[in-house]
Amino acid sequence: MAKREEWGSRTGFILAAAGSAIGLGDVWRWPYIAYSNGGGAFFIPYLFAFLTAGIPILLLEYAIGHRYRGSTPLSFRRIGKGFEWVGWWQVAISFVIGCYYAVIIAWAISYTLFSFGLSWGQDPESFFITEYLQAPAQPSGLGGLVGGVLIPLLVVWGITLFVLARGVKRGIELASRIMMPVFFVLFILIVIRSVTLPGALDGLNTLFKPDWAALTDSNVWVAAYAQIFFSLSICFAIMVTYASYLPKKADLSNTALIVGFSNSTVELLAGIGVFGALGFLAAASNSPVTKVVDDGIPLIFIAFPTLIDQLPALNQLFAIVFFLSLVIAGLTSQISIVEVYVSALREKFDMGRTASVLIGGGAAALVSVAFATRGGLYILDAADHYINEIGAVSAGLLEVVLAAWIYRQIEQLREHSNAISDVRVGKWWSWSLMFVTPVVLAFILFDNLRTELFGARNYEGYPTDFLLRYGWMVVVASLVFGVALTLKRWNEEAIDLGAAREVGA
């Protein structure tokens, strides 16, 4: 059994973990969720969810990874035999996400290059959908390959696999140490420019004006928990994997606070930047801000190019900085997602890092080509929706329930964390994980299933057979993949935690 790789410094680990959590979702999801769920009043459920689910789950995963010193499936296996399949399911979910997330980063790379000539012209929507993605009007199948997406996609995979092949310290940590400070600088520049545009204050007013009545709406609280759940890279097998590379003596609780607050800091900055810019767009187009509010892919690739066209000066520079910051935010998250299955495959099949990067990462790169086709936009949308709303929430719920109630790990892990951390966590942490988090995740899952199965219309109005093939089937396939890999037996030495600790593996 070889000695386990380790982070070189606490700063390196924090930057890598924050880089994983801070991603495209911070920019395109938080501002819209906050705006549509009470505006300024949203801070109350958001901070409550942050303290009762975000930090508790983050610290739970740090403690599991640190105590059981393995990738997520191995760590879960060391907790109990019946826990491993949840780890593999999470690995499979990360595999799916890594496949399409790489494509979105590829779009951002293309748009960074398009920014030099503002190539989207006067009609960014038509440019993005028809000219760049060559997407049909309705979802159908794969269609032909789109060269303009495929080439930057190869670049994304080249960078990701190169970084991962160099290992934890010389690869992931070094890349994070370079990319995260650059991201912060670029991002702050964008926010400063956005809030100094004419009309920006109207945008900020639209975002932060409180609707106190929203606090009595249970959907607003569920939205806050869902936002925390999706934005912190928790229950995706990432944080367990990253924490498994921490040395024996490591502060877990304060590190979780730093990573959690870093992510929220960027979310809040994104809200200010996005709504400042939308306020400007509304003023420039003589419409109310509420008419130009958008989220997700349309916000980034349609609304932002539209407002960049309207800027009074330095349009190209703003566009380059904006899309480059998205590329960097995306890459640091992508590296963490792919490391999940590189690490898991490596331990299960006892292979070297380079081999697992080439096999695990290479397989994901091949599958991701499906999203670089003419039908890729719709397939991505369906896969993203179902793998997150159904797959990730189910796997997250199982993780918390099994850890808290079946294998009764919470008190042990709390003692483990308190023994090595400077900030001691109290009983509130255990209660959050045993009661609050499972109940909220179960409610979110129930609500998502109810909407999908009994809603008035299909997701985005897509045909049922299309959603079955690229939505539900992806979720089922990830589960089958997880169970199948669990059936492959471990080398007995690998699951012996005592032996692993002796050699520092």
Binding site: T11, L47, L201, N254, T265, L268
Partner: protein
């Protein structure tokens, strides 16, 4: 901007950014005490 919007924006900034700064300062102080080196775990 509405006064309520300004207050909430400032409160949100104070809690979130204040939490980040406080946890970083705590890590720097305690990290130095624990390791005395630059790894600071």
């Amino acid at each position: 901007m509405d006064i309520s919007a300004i207050i909430l924006m400032l409160v949100g900034m104070t809690i979130i950014w204040g939490g980040l700064i406080a946890s970083i300062l705590y890590a720097i102080r305690v990290g130095r005490h624990k390791d005395g080196g630059d790894t600071g775990f």
